[in-house]
Each structure stands twice: as structure tokens, then as C-alpha cells.
């Protein structure tokens, strides 16, 4: 069995990082918001391609509105990133391109998935209207609330790690 893989979730506060992890690890959701401070770490064993077991260690970081202010010690040994933004709040994706660029330069060769969360709050037309902003960067539109594409997100990232 290969070593556990460390996945770090980043993005502004309130975008649903904690909720996505909850959905993935415990398959639950709450609409109450509890601000994450520092970091919470959880673990989940999954099976990927041809039943290979893999342990994911998931780091849920405190939300920041400036990615460059992240505590770098949290990122030691990171194998993959999930960058989350909130489809219902433009401030959370205003600097999408720059933030992703920052990750790419500072953590090259680290697989990254970009997701727009809270898909349940917007409609298709909204996504189409904002095509230009989203399409070049976004891997999945997800909803922690409905659980849509959450499993796929983590599994696909995990597959990219081995």
C-alpha cells in the first residue's frame, strides 16, 4: 500500500471547504457555519482504480482572502490541492486566476483541482453567463449540500497523485 497522501483545501472563508470535507468523510451537511481557525485534519481511506486502497489525509485550512498570507508550515509535504470558491459570492472568485498562478509558481507539479461550490444556489444560465471567468480554470461544479460531484472530486484528485 502506498503512503498516505496529503490533500490541502484552500480558498476564501465560507466557501464550503469544511462542508466538502464533511460530505466526503462523514457524508453529512449542516447549514450552520462554524469558522475554521488554524487547521483541522481528517483522514479517509478510499479505493481507486482497480481497488487500490489509498489513505487521504485532508487538511482543512482556515479561509483567507489572500492566499499569499497562508502559513507555509501547513503546506509541508502537500501532495495535492483543492481550490474552492463560492459560486454565489463573486468576491471569492474575483482573483481566481492570480491565486491559482500563485499556487502554480510556489508549488509546481502539485496536482490541483479547482471547484466552484454551492452549485445548488445558482443555475445553468449563471454558469453560462460567466463562462469566460470559470471555464478556463474550473474542474468541477460541486455542491457540498447536495453531495454532487464531491466523491468524484476527491477520487479524481487521488488518482492524479499516484
Amino acid at each position: 500500500m502506498s503512503r498516505p497522501k496529503k490533500i490541502v483545501l484552500i480558498g476564501h472563508f465560507g466557501v464550503g471547504k469544511t462542508s466538502l470535507i464533511r460530505r466526503f468523510v462523514e457524508n453529512t451537511f449542516t447549514k450552520d457555519y462554524k469558522v475554521t481557525i488554524g487547521v483541522h485534519i481528517s483522514k479517509k481511506e478510499i479505493h481507486i482504480k482497480g481497488d487500490t486502497p489509498l489513505t487521504l489525509v485532508i487538511w482543512d485550512l482556515e479561509g483567507l482572502d489572500d492566499i499569499t498570507k497562508m502559513r507555509t508550515s501547513y503546506l509541508l509535504g502537500t501532495n495535492g490541492f483543492i481550490y474552492v470558491f463560492d459560486l454565489s459570492r463573486p468576491v471569492t472568485y474575483e482573483n481566481l486566476e492570480a491565486e491559482l498562478e500563485y499556487l502554480k509558481t510556489n508549488y509546481p507539479n502539485t496536482p490541483t483541482k479547482v471547484v466552484g461550490n454551492k452549485m445548488d444556489l445558482v443555475n445553468k444560465a449563471f454558469i453560462e453567463e460567466n463562462n469566460g471567468i470559470f471555464t478556463p480554470f474550473v474542474d468541477y461544479y460541486v455542491s457540498a449540500k447536495l453531495g454532487s460531484r464531491v466523491e468524484t472530486l476527491f477520487t479524481k484528485l487521488a488518482e492524479a497523485l499516484i
Binding site: 462554524k34 481557525i37 488554524g38 487547521v39 483522514k43 482556515e62 508550515s73 509535504g77 454565489s88
Partner: protein, 502 residues
Amino acid sequence: MLEFYKASQNEKFQYIIVDNTGTIKESDNGIFSIDNHKRLQEVHPFFEIFTELLVIPNETYEFSCINLNFETQNLVVDISVKTQDNSSIVIIENLTKHYNNYQLAAQGRNESIINSQIIELKNEYLLEKEKFKNNFIANFSHELRNPLTASLIFGNLLSESALNAEQKGYLNIIKSANSDLKQKIEDILDIAKIESGKLALNTSVFSLKAMLQDIVTQHKTLATNKQLEFVSNFDTKLPEFAEGDAYRIKQIFDSLLANAIDFTNSGRISLHVSLNYTRAQKANLQVKVIDTGCGIAPKHHDTIFERFMKIEPDAQSHNGSGLGLAIVKYLITEMGGTIRLDSSLNEGSTFTCNFNVKISSYNSSLKHELLDKQTPERSEKQHILLLEDSELMQLTLLKILAATGQFYVSIISKGEDLISNIIDKDVDLILSSNTIQGFSIADLTTAIRSLPREYKKTPVIALSTEAYKQDIKRFKKAGVTDVIIKPFDEQTLLERINKALK
């Protein structure tokens, strides 16, 4: 005493010695207890990264604000690690209390930031909705213009034919309903323009005297029809010519007087216009419209100038969509003035307003124009080319133009036939709807203006459903000679055609 403090201090730290695979060799269990020989990685998933860290000797790592959730307790700690060749030391500092306070502060701050962003989003959404409403109103009102124009014009034509008394009575009702409808559409369009910030004043020189005379003639007739006395009183110091938006100024008078006549069943309507003061080439006019009608209770005085407000909503006999006063108030405010209402129930109402116009020095060319308005004598008939794809409008226009005996008219309904017709026939004037399928009047006019010299100057009058200033500007820029807004009456049409032919 000291021992007590030391003990409590001890609970703040935990020292753990591990080998370079993470297996615990020693722990003082100052914060939580762990079994020796277990691997740290099994204690909490945080320590999983130690697998990589511990194999590199002589390094120091600091981790702050790590949430360690155990079954029995939730801790928030800082952790530092010093690695050595074979064994490393891990120091955990319990800062749960400190971080919990920080969490509370962050909770309040983040929640309020997110809430304000949601409110912003809601506002944006409301603005979008408002915009949609205004566009909808504007578009729909435009749709009403063509049928209404036909109805107005045929009503007028019908009244010139031989009718018996009963028929005349019916026709008058139709005509008055038509003009009501026209007024309402105009009011709604004005409100939509006001709300979308598109209502701008168009300043030009006009004869204030002539305007006031027009107003008196028009409203005196209406008042007399209702057996009301109509008195007017104009300050002799009023400037003869003024600069301002004549159309909108007349609208203010019309609206106030129409209201007064509407809400009064017996007695008198008075109109007083005086000069408040003149300052820096600006005249401040005061207008008073006094009626002896049903009056307005004081509790309504605050809201009467608001949109969609109407006193006595069940009063069937009263006209007015309730938009008139809101528009008047807006126009007066735009002209740097104020409006006030004095009234109490059953004692009549007095509307007093003042606004600024610019004083214009005597302008002979304007006077000339005013005198010259009459239909000129013409020796031969002029040729009008009518481009219009609505059959109803074709018929309507043909009727009016033919009735004058002054023109002969050719009709085409396709934009692509325009240029060949101009060249083949000897056209004096082009009259065109602005909404010919597949063409815009602006583009067609641009094409005409680039024809050889003998054709390119042919005047073009656009009959437009677009009443917005920027549309009219666009037409004029393309070389359109004049724009007549639908619905129009025959007199306006003929006047403007004659003006363009000169």
C-alpha cells in the same frame, strides 16, 4: 503555592520523544496520555506528515493553531519539532482557551462580512429586476403606438364626415378615450425613463407668451365643457422668450390643469403665473393652479407626488393614472424648482410651484418661424415617397396626405426598394417608419446621403416609436432630417412635412 502554579503550567505543555519512524519512546503526558510504542501517526492524522519530516535530522518545524480532536477532548495547540539523528523531540503547547477566543472573534467578523456580501448580491438582483421592468414597460408602450396612432387619426377623420348627433356623441367618447390612452402611455414611458435615468431635458428657445396662450385656449375649452369657470392671470414682467425644455414645461402646466379640471365638479379653475425674481439671466417663475374641487386630505400630502399614488382609488369618475404628479415633481426638481400643495378635504386645492428658465433675448428668427408655421401656398404638388410596412399605417398616412391636395404619394413597404425608387421617381421627401423589417432608418438614410448630388439631399422624416433621446440623436447623426414620434396627430405631421420641404 508555587507547586500549584507549576502543576498548572505543566498541563500547558507535553514533551514527546520519538524515533525517526514516529514511534513514541517517551511522553510526559502533560496534556493527553498516549501509550509508548505506539506511532504518533496513529494518535492523530496531523502527525502523518512526520513520516517525512523525522527522517531529516537537525531541523526545526513550528506549527501553530492545530486542532486536535480526540474522542474526549478538542484541543487547539501549537506544535514544534526538533529532529535529530535517531530521536526527535516534539513539544505541544495547549492554547485551546486562547484560540477559542480567537475563534469567537473570527466567527463574528466572517459572518458579518458574508452577510453584507449577500445583501450586495440581493441589491444587484433587485436592480436587474427593476431594469427588466422598465425595459418591459418601454417596449410594450412602443408596441401600443402604431394602433393608437391609427385610432387617433381615423377618429379625427371620422369627425369630419357627416354624422348624426348620436354618432357624434359616440365618436366623442372614443376620441376622449383615445386621448386618455395616449396620455397614459406617455406618462408610463416618462416614468420608465425617469426610473432608468434616461429622461433628459432638451433645452431650446421658445415663446413663453405663445405657450401660455396655447395652454389657456386648450384648458379653457375643457373647463367650459364641464361648466367650470376658467381664469388666468399672467405677470406682465414675464419674459417673452425663454430657454428651457418647452415640451416638458408645457407638460407641467397641462398635467396640473388637467388634474384640477378632473377633480373639480363645480366652481372655478385659476392659473396664475408670475415672475419670482431674475438672477444671472435666469428667471424664476411661480405657477399657481387653484381649483374649487374635492380637495386632498392632509394625510395624503406627503405621498401625493409619489409614483402610482392616487387619492380615492375607487373614484371612478376621475382620470389620471396617478403618474402625472410624480412626473411633474421630477421635472420641476430637474429644473431647479419646488412644488407644494395646500389643500384640505372638500375645500379645493392649490398647487404652487416654481422653476427656472433662462431668459432669452428677443429672437427675430424664432418669431419668423412662429409666424411662418402656416401651410405655404404651392404651385405644384410635391412627391412624397412613403416607406412603411404596416398596412394600417400606410392607409392612415395616405388619408392625411391625400386630404391636403398638396401631395402625391408613392408607397413602398420594403427597405431594399428605397434607393431605386428615389432614383427612378422624382422624390421631394421621404417619409419612413423607423422599423422596416431588416433595415434601420439610420442605415437607409446613410445610404441616401451617399447618393449622387441630385438625390442625396432629399429630406427624410422618420416616424419613430423610439422616443429616447439617444435614438433620436442616432437618427439625426445618420442624416435624418426630422423625427416624428408616434403617436402623432395629422397637424403635427403636416407641419413637420412642410418644414422639411422648405
